[in-house]
């Protein structure tokens, strides 16, 4: 089965660069790799210096490394067309709520990525998929999105609103209907009718994806910014969430790992007139060392192997920089 590396971490830690490096390493081992991002901000495209689309593109060079970017609305439309008969798919895509719904659905982005991945993986074209999760991405959202979608659109929660229920339920529902206005309820009802088959398909795919995510072929790679002091509470939440989700930890990626520097001497006289700057450099240096030590300690505590990506002052621009990492 296709192996899956899920790259997770707090916003701004450098997940995309980490994903590029992990994908390159796997491709250099001879694997056929797909690097997939769900980041609408095109960080991956920027990091690779390449235009990316929803169709996997082979990256220049001898490696079997493809990259693609998933655009949420297009992915949902493709999914709908794949699971529904043509006429139903068109009716659903034309519903006034469909596009706003897939745009605003919490976790919908992550989930459609994984569902799309599952379908790609089933075709066996890749040995490994590296998934760069969105900045706000919460790993639990990956697993939870189908359940949330179903809960969001669960007709039984709307009992009374759409008819049915006891006397008290109907009385409350009447007030809710008045607040909502009749058109909103009618639209909701028609949306639910058109979604029924889709929700069934979602349930099946969700089970398949969940099994893949918690299976032996999947590992989560947790990215930590080694330049900043590890937020112990945030790290504990990540570990808790990953464990809760049943995801195996593959490696801790220490991003922006400081290159070794000669030790800092006592402040030289030549900087006498630059107190503020000298203090900044000294405290920045102390902070860098403390952050580095804390990151190493955190990685050791997690105990799942460490990948260090050495910081370069000018940042990463393109594939060659990532290759040299």
């Amino acid at each position: 089965m296709t192996r899956l590396s899920v790259v997770v971490g707090t916003g701004g830690v450098g997940k995309t660069t980490a994903a590029v490096v992990l994908a390159l390493q796997a491709a250099q081992r001879g694997e056929r790799v797909l690097l997939l991002t769900v980041d609408p901000a095109r960080r991956l495209a920027d990091a690779l210096g390449l235009p990316l689309g929803v169709v996997p593109t082979r990256l220049p060079g001898p490696l079997q490394l493809d990259a693609a970017m998933l655009e949420r609305e297009a992915a949902w439309e493709a999914y709908v067309r794949e699971v529904l008969p043509v006429r139903d798919a068109e009716a659903l895509a034309a519903h006034p709520w469909f596009h706003p719904l897939v745009r605003t659905l919490n976790g919908g982005h992550e989930w459609i990525a994984v569902a799309t991945l599952a379908r790609l993986a089933a075709r066996g074209a890749y040995d490994r998929v590296v998934l760069d999760t969105p900045p706000s991405g919460h790993v639990l959202d990956l697993l939870d999105a189908p359940r949330r979608l179903q809960r969001t659109l669960d007709p039984t929660r709307l009992t009374g609103l759409l008819g049915g229920g006891g006397l008290a339920e109907r009385a409350v529902a009447a007030v809710v209907r008045r607040i909502a206005g009749p058109s909103l309820i009618d639209d909701l009802q028609s949306l639910l009718q058109r979604l029924r088959t889709l929700l069934d398909a979602l349930r099946d795919d969700a089970a398949y994806v969940a099994a893949w995510l918690v299976g032996p072929d999947t590992a989560a790679h947790l990215v930590i910014d080694a330049r900043r002091r590890v937020d112990e509470a945030a790290l504990a939440r990540w570990r808790h969430d990953l464990a809760q989700a049943g995801l195996r930890l593959g490696a801790t990626v220490l991003q922006r790992y400081p290159a070794a520097l000669p030790p800092l001497e006592p402040r030289p006289d030549t900087l006498a007139g630059e107190d503020a700057l000298a203090e900044w450099i000294a405290s920045e240096d102390a902070e860098r060392q403390a952050a580095q030590a804390a990151a190493e300690q955190a990685a050791a505590a997690i105990g799942a192997g460490v990948v260090r990506i050495i910081d370069r002052p000018s940042g990463f621009h393109g594939l060659d920089d990532a290759r040299s990492a």
Partner: protein, 300 residues
Amino acid sequence: MNQRLVVVDGKGGVGRTTVAVALARAWASRGRRVWIVSLHNDPGLARRCGVAPAYAPTPITTNVSVSTLATPAALRDFGTRKLPVGALGGAALGSRPMSALVDAVPGLADLVQLGKVEDRLRWPIGDEVPLDAIILDAPATGHGHRLLDAPGVVAALARTGPFHGLAAKIADLIGDEQTMRQVVVSLPEPLPASETLESIDATLAAGRRPHAIVMNRTPPRPPQPRPDLPPGWNARMDLLEARVALADAANDTLRTGLAARGLDHLPQLPMADAAAADGHPPWGAWSDALAPLVDALEDS
């Protein structure tokens, strides 16, 4: 000064929350009363301020309080007063069908929380003091744009009725040039700078405009020419100079991009990088540095 609603916007990890709090403190030091809110139960703001997340305003310093808003509480709170719920009032707003409806209708959860913000800004009740400004610690851009688009989305879906009315009211607030201000937080690095321009394009396309940009984590400038230094200091000065060169390039990218969009006069303010992240952010120094931002936001 007119009342202000300030949306602090930016990509994940650029320091929106820190800038929102520093701005509130800078404003409050002039005697203004400021309320900072995060939405959708996001506890990041309260954590940054060292308080427990709560819906009710929690004071963090003189004239500044913070709240962690969420849909059900906002609906019960201002909905009872502002929606035609009749005798069944709270029972209907707290009911299962109501929460199901708010979950299911795209944009409605955002709209309800913005409804609370509008209500507090415009219509203080009981012993609530009038506010000079509300600062919205917006979700990361992408979602941030969705947030301000919510009134339009809901208005299109709820073609009549009270939610349509609420959407129209919030759309008026967001479109009100006297009240609405948007601050974009960026970092002095190439990728964040170009992402900021993309985000500004989305703002402009939606018919809104930014009012200021804050370049968070701006490094200090090394002396020119560099004095004679021992190897350890030299190595660190090399790193700092590389960072400053990146920052200059990023600032240029932004300045050029803003000019190309007719936004030459948009203030682009540095906020100093504080090297020591020992849990004691230099709020005082940051607030001083943001005085020009307060000026820009108070400017009518």
